[in-house]
Symmetry: D2
Amino acid sequence: MNTLIPMLGQPAVQTPLLKLLPEKFQKTVFIADDERVLFDIRAANVRRMIAEGKEIPSFEQAGPRRSIFFEPSQTSAAIVTCGGLCPGINNVIRSVVMTLTYRYGVKRILGVRNGYQGFIPEYACEPIALTPDMVDHVHRQGGTMLGTSRGKQDPERIVDFLLNNKIDLLFIIGGDGTQRGALVISEAARKRGAKVSIIGIPKTVDNDIAFIDRSFGFATASSVACQVIATAHTEAKSSPNGIGLVKLMGRHSGFITCLAALAVSEANFVLIPEVPFSLNGGSGFLNALKERMLRRGHAVVLVAEGAGQDLIPAKSQEHDASGNIKFQDIGIFLKDRINEFFKKEKIEINLKYIDPSYIIRAIPANQIDSVYCYMLGEYAVHAAMSGRTEMVVGLVNNAFVHIPMAMIAAGRKRVEPHGPLWLSVIEATGQPPEML
Amino acid sequence: MNTLIPMLGQPAVQTPLLKLLPEKFQKTVFIADDERVLFDIRAANVRRMIAEGKEIPSFEQAGPRRSIFFEPSQTSAAIVTCGGLCPGINNVIRSVVMTLTYRYGVKRILGVRNGYQGFIPEYACEPIALTPDMVDHVHRQGGTMLGTSRGKQDPERIVDFLLNNKIDLLFIIGGDGTQRGALVISEAARKRGAKVSIIGIPKTVDNDIAFIDRSFGFATASSVACQVIATAHTEAKSSPNGIGLVKLMGRHSGFITCLAALAVSEANFVLIPEVPFSLNGGSGFLNALKERMLRRGHAVVLVAEGAGQDLIPAKSQEHDASGNIKFQDIGIFLKDRINEFFKKEKIEINLKYIDPSYIIRAIPANQIDSVYCYMLGEYAVHAAMSGRTEMVVGLVNNAFVHIPMAMIAAGRKRVEPHGPLWLSVIEATGQPPEML
Amino acid sequence: MNTLIPMLGQPAVQTPLLKLLPEKFQKTVFIADDERVLFDIRAANVRRMIAEGKEIPSFEQAGPRRSIFFEPSQTSAAIVTCGGLCPGINNVIRSVVMTLTYRYGVKRILGVRNGYQGFIPEYACEPIALTPDMVDHVHRQGGTMLGTSRGKQDPERIVDFLLNNKIDLLFIIGGDGTQRGALVISEAARKRGAKVSIIGIPKTVDNDIAFIDRSFGFATASSVACQVIATAHTEAKSSPNGIGLVKLMGRHSGFITCLAALAVSEANFVLIPEVPFSLNGGSGFLNALKERMLRRGHAVVLVAEGAGQDLIPAKSQEHDASGNIKFQDIGIFLKDRINEFFKKEKIEINLKYIDPSYIIRAIPANQIDSVYCYMLGEYAVHAAMSGRTEMVVGLVNNAFVHIPMAMIAAGRKRVEPHGPLWLSVIEATGQPPEML
Amino acid sequence: MNTLIPMLGQPAVQTPLLKLLPEKFQKTVFIADDERVLFDIRAANVRRMIAEGKEIPSFEQAGPRRSIFFEPSQTSAAIVTCGGLCPGINNVIRSVVMTLTYRYGVKRILGVRNGYQGFIPEYACEPIALTPDMVDHVHRQGGTMLGTSRGKQDPERIVDFLLNNKIDLLFIIGGDGTQRGALVISEAARKRGAKVSIIGIPKTVDNDIAFIDRSFGFATASSVACQVIATAHTEAKSSPNGIGLVKLMGRHSGFITCLAALAVSEANFVLIPEVPFSLNGGSGFLNALKERMLRRGHAVVLVAEGAGQDLIPAKSQEHDASGNIKFQDIGIFLKDRINEFFKKEKIEINLKYIDPSYIIRAIPANQIDSVYCYMLGEYAVHAAMSGRTEMVVGLVNNAFVHIPMAMIAAGRKRVEPHGPLWLSVIEATGQPPEML
């Protein structure tokens, strides 16, 4: 696990913060370049690794540096947002613009529009010049003020854009696929001798970015998920044999679903991609649901969109513009299977299916995500100005750190199928530990 | 238009309010039996009708009477809730229980469970005894604490229940179908000599109850609809050629859709059952949408679930348990048509379809609906205790009145296709006045 | 009661709506000049008045006219907002601008800043030109985008402004004091031969504008009041002998306090300006509170800011900039009296005092207020373009009408101390009908 | 820094989880007794300490143990809540009850009422028996279902209660003062030979508990604080020279104030207890405020309740029931000073003072706090059942750990006056780094 961050060159410019700040701050706020944060913080592991002479895995600590690489007055930055929406994107944009402007004095900041498309002239989407005034209230709105799109674009042409526009810093807000794309862009830029700092701010509403404590926007999205579950619970309890079935976001991971279940304590079944289940058979989901219905007369079922894909009869595998496999709709599938099953069992049920879809992601960030986004933006700018590149900023063990982009791009975090989170979910729902 | 309310007999019992209240109130709060509220309040019409010797249409004014029909100490009441959920049902239940108990001293109140099913022994759903303590906090929750179901039950067996349980007052919370059922029950009761006051509190989340200013829960539901539209707007603006398509409740009427459009001013097209439209053709919806997309690059489309049913290829007509025709899903249909159309036009769009379904109806009532429900419950009890029957309480011209149940059961209110509300919607959206 | 609206002259211009609208709308949306809405809609009163040959009180119906007075292409409008904040002011501004622009084609609209101060050059606050783009999202924010101030300014100098800027239409959003000021301005303008249509949109967060069903923003403000009361209730129930004391807006009337009490059903005492009460004595408030505390161990007390002013020892009467008498703080006064009283009674209590003050009025309008504001703005523009003046638009008996400004300026609405609203409050709280 | 947790004895009972759980879980969910989490996770520090042969500071990892000390079927537990309210208390109570019942099979759980008073017979407040059904929906409400009070009670009499009621596990939800009290109780119990596990769940709405990442309820409370600040901002911008002054909770620390300022980015001055400031003088707060007003015409000022206490003329030092020094009201004080200052400067301002007080703490926990509380409750029960005592559960470096109660009782966390959080606040507000 190599966690070293590539540098564009030796930082030799005195940071403007040195002049702006009262002296007392200068002793406490600058981070030395060798300050690192441990990744595995279990004491026994650390002692063992040291005893064995192994390197303890750690990440470089984020924060402002005394010496920076770019001369602010001659620096140009660009920001681009890619992939699906997530609460807080505008907060990050705002924070990057504010920090570049007020902390460093960078004057030229371009907002690239509609994701990677905005780099390509054919899409006819000129970048916009971003100023503090323009972004001042943008965090009050959901979505991204820059627009977004899915999918890759030709890296050479993106480098053309960067060179033509003399971009020194490129901030890329996007998921693991976007960060993979960013690496390719960076490589192409390096080959052509461009000194561009490419810094990612990892984004996913599903909270499945590897290594980091949680991704921005997740707290907001799961709050809305909780409100939706409450309506499913109300519907289920208001009808004889009522079943509330809710599909939630989560293509590869069940974090939103699990944490919403723990927060509201009203779900009786949680189905996630990480934990396989059967529909039929004595210990399958449908029998477990029947048992619950006979016992209590109502049930709430949460299903993550990526759950149970193996149960749905195969179609030709379709892909979306980002290259992701298109998922079959497990929500509709389950709704039909549940209705069929109870019809055959001659039990009249009232199933209400709720698919909140974009409702949970297209809203402004709440307070905790707003603060998180504000800080991510600050730390991304500090990293970029210092000459670092091919890295993302993130929160690891409650500390802000630099993570190599390649590590984020390599894979996602998942709910551990026999770990404590899933155990808490089983306890909170009362569902059988295995439905196979 | 006969607006006279049937009476079970002559009110001859002095109301307990006479003793409970300070004298000053007694002069101002009791309503005389001949106090009526005009329905058509346009001065010219009223003058013309009087000049022509015609009866001016009016409704009996709601409120407490000095003399009542039922001796409270010997009175038993029952409450039942039928049909789909709507914000505020629990508030009405609570208000009825509180008013019966504290204003009149009625001690025996049964909560019939799961709609009309609760009257029928086979469903094995015993009624519950309701007390002020039981209902004290119930308005904090959405749904109905009594449960609900759709569909009719044998009126004779319902009368069996009323007689066996010595029910004097029956409060029925439900829509126009439920009120039609209530009339049949009342008739059956009358034939068997039962003196039961049957009072309806009309319920529909769609706001299409005839005659009344607005139905309870509507303000809450359209608030949530507005929040959902905001997310569709955010999605539409965040993608190149983004379209946010939202399906909202409204089987026969577009009130939720229209009023949400006026409130948020972010919708560009509103499609409702009352106003027919074509998909294709030069002045059809799809061309109008294309024109908007070319001009502004994004659009928000709201469609009420009952809109454009004529456009969907016919299936065998299915009915739900309430006997309503099952609607084809106009949301999914439109989504597919829009995607097809722009594909053929070679314009890449990003359509996000949102169907909030039960999310907007399964929530607690907001402040304005809570007060409305509180008052509906009070007035329903006053009417019942006075010996009235086969009527509903409602707000007409901002005054609480008694409306014969038969008038409510006869038909629904609709958005006038060339009236001022629809004109405001056309102006607010900028959509063509006709898309045919 | 003279409800006739002054006209600036004969409407002789064909409204542009005639050309814009499909023919079918033209038959249904225009209001004839003699269409009026009855004010007293009780059937017996109407019949009696007609029999006695009396004029039935009525208001002119609001809405678009076929003929208007101002030629839109040569018309200039101004908008000003005065007095305290209220949810929905920005919605009204937005609606006026949108309707002037899109329905009539008026191109020049000035936003006068900071209330009546904005007319006076010394305040150095230039008006801003308002366009649809500028106001498009302003309803998402509370407050007023134009700024506001209290107090009068020299009417002659305001007329100077109107003449210098060739203003034809002046829209004034403000309370009863503001409307009194508007009358004086109108008179001064008339004397100098200026044909200015002066149209008010009455504003008060206290809901005490005379004649109208409810004032805009009130539904929003009382929703927030309800949330605050819930926290007082939580505090009261979480401590031994907990008392939650909440001061709410309402200088002259208790509408917010009463309707919040009915909505949440958690208040045990409601004190309003219209209903006098004693602190001490056997049947006074403090003894009633003690009785409640001994019986239930907690209590929630709501007090409107204008309540019980007679109980507070006199100070020299101070006035604020609007000329209103400055109220002594009944909340702090009650808090001290309650603490003293229970100390003397040797009962340990935990009183939590909450004064939400501006929190309930400085927020965006909710859905129901948004629609109301949208329509008020539309109707205000229709009235102004038709050449009407010295009037306000309002909802009376659920119909939009024109009300002479002088009637609004003459006095406020109050909670009837022995009427049905107060009776409902007494019943909902369980407080003694009289505490004297 | 001794972070070892006292044990009541050797855990020798096989945990029921061993039987309940599928085998796969057993390998992953149990925590070995020597698993510890590093406190200082900076790599250089860790390496240095190891090189120097020093103990690396670490906390015991929280979680279920294979062997426990108490035989569940014979175990009795009690829960008590002390001090001021905080969002999430009911969630913790609920989680403790659920985990004791369903994970361990403990059947007797007492809820001690009204804080430490509930242990003392004179207060006549019998404990209540808690069951899963009783607590099932309690997390939907703010406050504490058990009641709370401030202040100490005689530890011997509390031990009397524990012995008389045969309590084995005592869960104490409260702040640092409460945890100091808990230590005294534990010592008294030990002296009398009672084997009682005393486990704290630290509570403070101010987020100033030492060592832990954040305290429960803080995310919810600062969300509400943000909403209040938005209204202050609206008021400030709506008046000429408008100033919104908001007092927020925070007796000893400015965390709520700082994080709300970062989240909403609308505050221009933040005043906290940790950072002294002057009112007068060229670089004092009032001049800085004047400079801002002249430049921008409005300002939002946030002040934590414990800020600037040195500026307020001394009164005799009063203490509240918890023994805390009573703070003078800095909000009212500042309001008066600001008004005076600008009057003297002959600048007319419109200051709106908002004190949300209990509004921000008496509300239900939001999603992120709900999950946190759920887990704190689980981990508290695991710790108690294992025979640990005199400890609290908390989140340190994003891991749940056991912290000795004495460490929590020893002091509070504060905002570092020259650290990165305060620097971010200065940058976000634009206020001078020093106002002295």
